[in-house]
Symmetry: C2
Subunit: 201 residues, 2 copies
Amino acid sequence: MEQSPTARATRGRPRSEAVERSILDGVIRLIEEGTPLAELSVERIARTAGVGKATIYRRWSGKEEIFVDVLRTLEAPPAVLPGTSMRDDLVVLLEQIRRRGLNLRASAILHNVFAQMKTLPKLWDAYHSTVIEPQRRRAQDVLRRGQENGELRADVDIALAHELFVGPMLVRTVMRSDAPLDEGLSERVVDLVLGGLRPSE
Amino acid sequence: MEQSPTARATRGRPRSEAVERSILDGVIRLIEEGTPLAELSVERIARTAGVGKATIYRRWSGKEEIFVDVLRTLEAPPAVLPGTSMRDDLVVLLEQIRRRGLNLRASAILHNVFAQMKTLPKLWDAYHSTVIEPQRRRAQDVLRRGQENGELRADVDIALAHELFVGPMLVRTVMRSDAPLDEGLSERVVDLVLGGLRPSE
């Protein structure tokens, strides 16, 4: 899994964190002012932050990587899995998606970046491979462990099982911005998918 | 529920169907040539079809409504519900989503319109209220009948139950264009959500 440039730079050179933060803040300001992502060049980002282009390229490979770091601010810090059961781990993973949804609703700017991202395939791919894909792999590992210890039906495909758990949460966070994202939703979804919607008697 | 202008015109004046079809074909041609939706004015659409703007406005309220009719070509004809059980009705409704996903993958043009739509709130709203919302209401009616006849747990919220069934299919059709949409997927999803993912013993 690729480390984010931010994480890399932060760890090695603590003083440069401020530089990065001010570059990202500059980008957010430009987006706030209504600049479409397609018009945000590295040159303009550098000018806004008052640094040279080389300073940008030492940290990011290009503007797509910068936008991904802006979107990364939507993410809660990576959740610690309790490891007590597959069920409990899944609840924590769904909570991560629920929180991203709440953050997305709270921030008009990030919502805007998120919407524009879908029309820029390179940015969508970068976001997907560095933010979403690692979470998906992690969730599938949880499900595989569940199959091994008998918490999950052995005859169900892991990819499909994953979509059964995350699909309902993604519908609410990504597609239906008016749907409730109330506390307890993650537990409810996990327990319903595990127990099934057929009446028990 | 609003009737689509196409349906209205087709029923009342069969001969104008050809005019409409040629206007929609002209729009599709412009999109094929790479014209972004935002640059497609009613004037340009009229010029391409060789008709006056009034001819357009007799049929559609504006370009958003035209684009929705273009997107409507993604839809299979409204599915007939077998009515034999909630389970069978849900399978048919999920099949509708699966087919839309397959059509979306088969057509680069419609895929393009679909992606751009998400950045044009008015178009997204129009698509949602005339195409998606009626399907959602229909599915929720099926679920309510299921609750009444004992096929669906009585303690589960209808909106959430709906998302549990359609969420996994939407993830595959809308978000992960590389995921399999194989035959039998609708049955599999419905039966897994009904039966639950917990091993039965």
